[in-house]
């Protein structure tokens, strides 16, 4: 596959998928299909925020997390964690071991929660036809469920009951929660029974996710916006239960522990078996690999010991693979101005020289909203983008000039390439169970499966760090914060640093410059900037665009395949779209020209 700007393409029909939101071009996909309805060119455009430095410059670095936490409602904790790490890196602040364990548990909890919710609440419905579930035989569903898992909620009566409930919801007409699906689409392959089982698990996951976030409420002190702290974590440990309100006591530690156990059980008995069951019907739909077989990157995360962010100490893999060379994992350095750079040649921003990239420490965000010469429509009502010009609010970050994919699949590919058994073994086992070759991993389905495997990994790692934390507390260590350098007087006049995490959807980093105790520049490069990036000056296309190319579509006016592949990245967009309107409008308009 050519991973550069598709050239020589004779434009056929152009499909435009654009969610209806108040913000123009919020997340928009345009694709050209040939006469066989195969995608030959894809254009991804998105609205990211317009530079957090606009809001943060001049503010107290210790407050930055509270602002970045507001960028997005799904990734809150992970932005906050990245932010406190950036400030600590800049000012040379270390954190206690307990704080490291608690941060890891919070981050892993977010992984588990996000993966579960993403799969069941959003992505599963790209594979599962809810309406078909109404036709299922509850008895056969029960047999199917019991054949794949020992999960107890699997009796014929349970599925019958669920089917009745589902029918009621569907018949409630306007309130029917599933009214906008492409039900009955030819790209749905599951038999009714598998659909019914998956819908049952959709509801169970919806119910279960409420318990998962309790961990955040306990260690974050406050939900839904947990508290974070430069130098540690905001929660005090007091096992005697005599401390301040909200301190961590034995009761709370036990509650966390029981939630972790249930996370492990749900992932192993519901989520993974569902992935296997669903995948077995889509073995011949292995499209959407895109960049994953070529170039992937992960920053690594979950430090075993506090304050050491080197690859050896990180439990999630760190490194870069380019040009499909799985035998060589390249090291990466966030501080090296030659490595990570953002380009704006196709983004609605301007640099002094658009052909050059800028390292985030020197990042600027100056809007320049101009459409390319071949764009159709107006600035306020774009009919068709011109990918030859500027076409997205997302910048194009590159690693040494390479477009890379980030996310669970990238992490698992790197883990396998580094021969880490905790990533390699489950991956091989899953492929073997399904009877698929290794290269099947480089697909939309592979991305979805890697997320499930990672969910299992994360749930078990939560158990590990919870035990480690309890062990240290028992040994008498209740320290959760280091406030040696809390006061700005102890800071240098100028400092700069970076912090990184592996957010559920991929590599996330913040770069900060501090001058005279105030923020001088602050840049976030988020996972969807990598995956959803537009083209760069050299014509390299981003992961979304690459993944869509060569995908055949069953019915272009119902672009289920496009949604399926885009969803598999778990894209993150500026969260500003919950504005309610009276008529439950469709979330995406589709135009075929």
């Amino acid at each position: 596959m050519d991973l550069h700007t598709p050239d020589g393409f004779k434009p056929g029909k152009r499909i435009v998928v654009d969610p209806v939101t108040r913000i123009e071009g919020h997340m928009r996909i345009e694709a050209n299909i040939d006469s066989d309805n195969v995608i030959r060119n894809a254009v991804s455009s998105g609205t990211m925020w317009r530079g957090i430095e606009i809001i943060l410059n001049g503010r107290d670095p210790r407050d930055a997390w509270a602002f970045t936490e507001r960028i997005c409602g799904v990734c809150t904790g992970t932005h906050a964690l990245t932010s406190v790490r950036a400030v600590e890196n800049a000012l040379g602040i270390t954190i206690p071991e307990n704080a490291n364990s608690i941060r890891n548990i919070m981050q892993l909890c977010l992984q588990v929660h996000d993966h579960l919710v993403h799969f069941y609440h959003l992505h599963a419905l790209d594979w599962v036809d809810v309406m078909s579930a109404l036709k299922a035989d509850p008895k056969a569903t029960s047999v199917l469920a019991q054949s794949i898992s020992s999960w107890p909620l699997s009796s014929p009566g349970y599925f019958k009951d669920l089917q009745i409930r589902l029918t009621k919801f569907v018949e409630s007409g306007q309130l029917g929660p599933f009214k906008y699906g492409y039900w009955g689409h030819a790209a749905y392959k599951l038999p009714p029974e598998a659909n019914l089982m998956a819908v049952a698990h959709y509801l169970e996951a919806l119910d279960f996710q409420k318990d998962v976030v309790k961990i955040h409420a306990i260690y974050g002190g406050k939900n839904p916006h947990p508290n974070w702290l430069v130098g540690g974590v905001a929660c005090a440990i007091n096992v005697d239960g005599t401390g301040a309100v909200g301190a961590i006591n034995m009761e709370r530690l036990n509650l966390v522990s029981s939630v972790i156990d249930r996370c492990i059980e749900f992932t192993e008995k519901v989520y993974l078996p569902d992935i296997v069951a669903i995948s077995s019907f889509y073995k011949d739909w292995l499209y959407g690999g895109g960049l994953s077989g070529r170039s992937v990157m992960a920053y690594g995360d979950i430090p075993e010991n506090a304050n050491d962010y080197s690859a050896n100490n990180l439990k999630l893999p760190r490194g870069v693979i380019i040009n499909g060379n799985l035998n060589e994992v390249l090291p990466l350095d966030h501080a090296d101005p030659e490595q990570i750079q953002e380009f704006v040649s196709h983004s609605w921003y301007k640099y002094d020289d658009d052909s050059k990239g800028r390292h985030p420490w020197d990042g600027i965000t100056e809007p320049n909203y101009v459409l390319g010469p071949n764009a159709k429509g107006t600035k306020t009502d774009i009919k068709e983008l011109d990918e030859g010009g500027k076409y997205s609010w997302i910048k194009a970050p590159r690693w040494r000039g390479n477009a890379v994919e980030v996310g669970p699949l990238a992490r698992f590919i790197l883990g396998c390439a580094q021969n880490k058994p905790e990533f390699k073994e489950p991956t091989e086992k899953l492929l073997k169970t399904l009877g698929l070759p290794d290269k099947a991993l480089f697909s939309t389905l592979g991305r979805t499966a890697a997320r499930a495997l990672e969910c299992q990994w994360a749930a078990n790692q939560m158990r590990y760090f919870q035990d480690k934390l309890v062990g240290r507390i028992k040994a008498g260590d209740s320290s959760t914060a280091n406030i040696d350098k809390w006061e700005p007087e102890s800071w240098p006049k100028e400092a700069r640093g970076y912090g990184f995490t592996e957010a559920p959807r991929g590599a996330l980093a913040h770069w900060i410059k501090i001058k005279e105790t105030k923020i001088d520049n602050y840049q976030c490069v988020v996972p969807t900037t990598w995956n959803g990036s537009p083209r760069d000056p050299k014509g390299n296309i981003g992961a979304f665009e690459a993944a869509l190319i060569e995908t055949p579509m069953a019915a272009p006016e119902q672009p289920l395949e496009i949604l399926r592949t885009i969803h598999s990245f778990d894209p993150c967009l500026a969260c500003s779209t919950h504005v309610m309107s009276p008529d439950g409008q469709e979330m995406a308009a589709v135009i075929v020209r």
Binding site: I54, F178, P224, V579, M580
Partner: protein, 444 residues
């Protein structure tokens, strides 16, 4: 003050799911309630102890183990003595208990009759049977015995125990002689069953019936203690019926569970007028004090993270920017069914999870707040990254807060103005993102 408290109590009564028990008493929305008086409790425990004693000794009398049959020992005699002694105690305390039904409170009378003439009673029995069979999700709330329990107590205790007393004393009279008072009082039993062995058999059958009653009685007490979230077991010690909150099991408690009200603001403060909801709830928190039953929450753009907060609430007020195509800054109040709820399947990302989907998810899970109010404000500018609320929208915060207060008062919630300003640690939004500091751009 009195009036307010009374009105609140009435509102609470009206909003809690309440059944009238057989004694005609409504479960008040407040607990604890004093149900079992001292004599009732003493009788209960003495009778319980006697019955256990009688069952064990009676069983041994009817089926003597071989080791006690040897002559020269008096073991069997002791057992018989224990049985007779316990029988006299039970007889006295049973009598006392029946007499107390005349003098005691209405709950003490519940076990001596069945209001068989009341249609509602039979309907309620049916409900209880379904509840005990796990076919109902919610129990009805009774202060005293529920209809099924009342029926069980009446037959298993009030009818069965006299039967055992009468047949027991009749059998005793065989040994005590025909001039004994036992024979004088209970000798007539042999007119019914001339063969004394038949009386023995009936008496023993009665023992097994009592055994079953005791097992069911204990099972039901333990089960209801857990399932209906009311004190059942301990109230026979303290006399007080207490309702617990819903800690522990996932069962929805209804027994005068304290009503929960959620005051929620949603939106993204970084996108200008998008922040309306959060700023409104922040202002409410600064301005008013509310009782513990009310949760004030800055929901941000949390989507599904908010489901459990909604599930825990009976009443919900949401502040949000809404697009009804009105003049910028115009407020719109939407109630209950009119609040939009749907799930957007075609959304591009989870980040498109709107609040309507949170409501929809609660609906799907079957736990949507019963009373929903949306206080919306038509935004002017949602596209100004990092910008302040536009004046049109900012000016509506105060009216929106007052509107919420009005609705809370209408629901019977006491809302009082805050006299001492909040400390920063109590703010809803702190660390520089409170409204004032957020909009005070440090470098312009």
């Amino acid at each position: 003050m009195m009036n307010t408290a009374k009105r609140r109590a009435e509102t609470e009564l009206a909003s809690a799911p309440i059944a009238v028990d057989a004694a005609g008493e409504q479960a008040a929305a407040r607990s604890p309630i004093y149900v079992y008086e001292v004599p009732v409790r003493i009788c209960h425990w003495v009778n319980a102890l006697s019955i256990v004693f009688l069952m064990v000794s009676g069983y041994l009398i009817g089926t003597p183990p071989s080791m006690v049959a040897a002559s020269g020992k008096f073991v069997m005699g002791y057992i018989r003595f224990a049985h007779f002694a316990a029988a006299q105690v039970l007889a006295m305390f049973f009598l006392a208990r029946i007499l107390w039904a005349i003098f005691g409170n209405r709950h003490s009378r519940q076990i001596v009759y069945i209001p068989a003439h009341r249609k509602q009673f039979w309907k309620d029995i049916l409900h209880e049977i379904r509840w005990y069979a796990f076919l109902e999700h919610k129990p009805k709330v009774y202060v005293g015995h529920n209809p099924l329990a009342q029926t069980a107590m009446f037959t298993g205790f009030t009818l069965l125990v006299p039967f055992m007393i009468i047949t027991g004393f009749a059998l005793f009279s065989e040994g005590a002689g025909i001039d004994s008072w036992q024979h004088a009082m209970f000798g007539w039993v042999f007119a019914l069953w001339p063969n004394s062995q038949d009386v023995h058999t009936w008496h023993r059958l009665g023992m097994w019936a009592l055994t079953i009653f005791v097992m069911v009685h204990i099972y039901a007490a333990v089960r209801e203690d857990i399932m209906s979230h009311r004190s059942i077991i301990f109230s026979m010690i303290s006399g007080v019926r207490q309702c617990r909150s819903n800690w522990g099991s996932g069962v929805v408690p209804t027994c005068s569970k304290p009503r929960r009200v959620l005051l929620l603001g949603i939106g993204n403060i970084l996108w200008a007028d998008e922040g309306f909801g959060v700023r409104a709830v922040e202002e409410f928190h600064h301005r008013y004090v509310v009782p513990d039953e009310v949760t004030i929450l800055d929901g941000g753009t949390q989507g599904l993270h908010l489901v459990n907060y909604l599930q825990d609430s009976d009443h919900l007020i949401v502040f949000d920017a809404i697009d009804y195509g009105l003049e910028p800054g115009q407020l719109k109040l939407v109630r209950d069914e009119e609040v939009p709820r749907f799930t957007g399947i075609r959304k591009m990302s989870l980040h498109h999870t709107g609040f309507q989907e949170v409501i929809s998810a609660c609906d799907l899970l079957g736990h949507c707040p019963k009373h929903l109010v949306l206080i919306g404000c038509q935004p002017l500018d949602l596209d100004d990254w990092g910008g302040p609320l536009t004046p049109a929208v900012r000016n509506q915060i105060s009216p929106a807060v007052e509107l919420a207060r009005f609705i809370l008062v209408e629901w019977g919630v006491r809302v009082t103005p805050r006299i001492t300003p909040l400390g920063e640690s109590e703010w809803l939004l702190a660390n520089g993102i409170d409204h004032q500091r957020y909009e005070m751009r440090a470098r312009t």
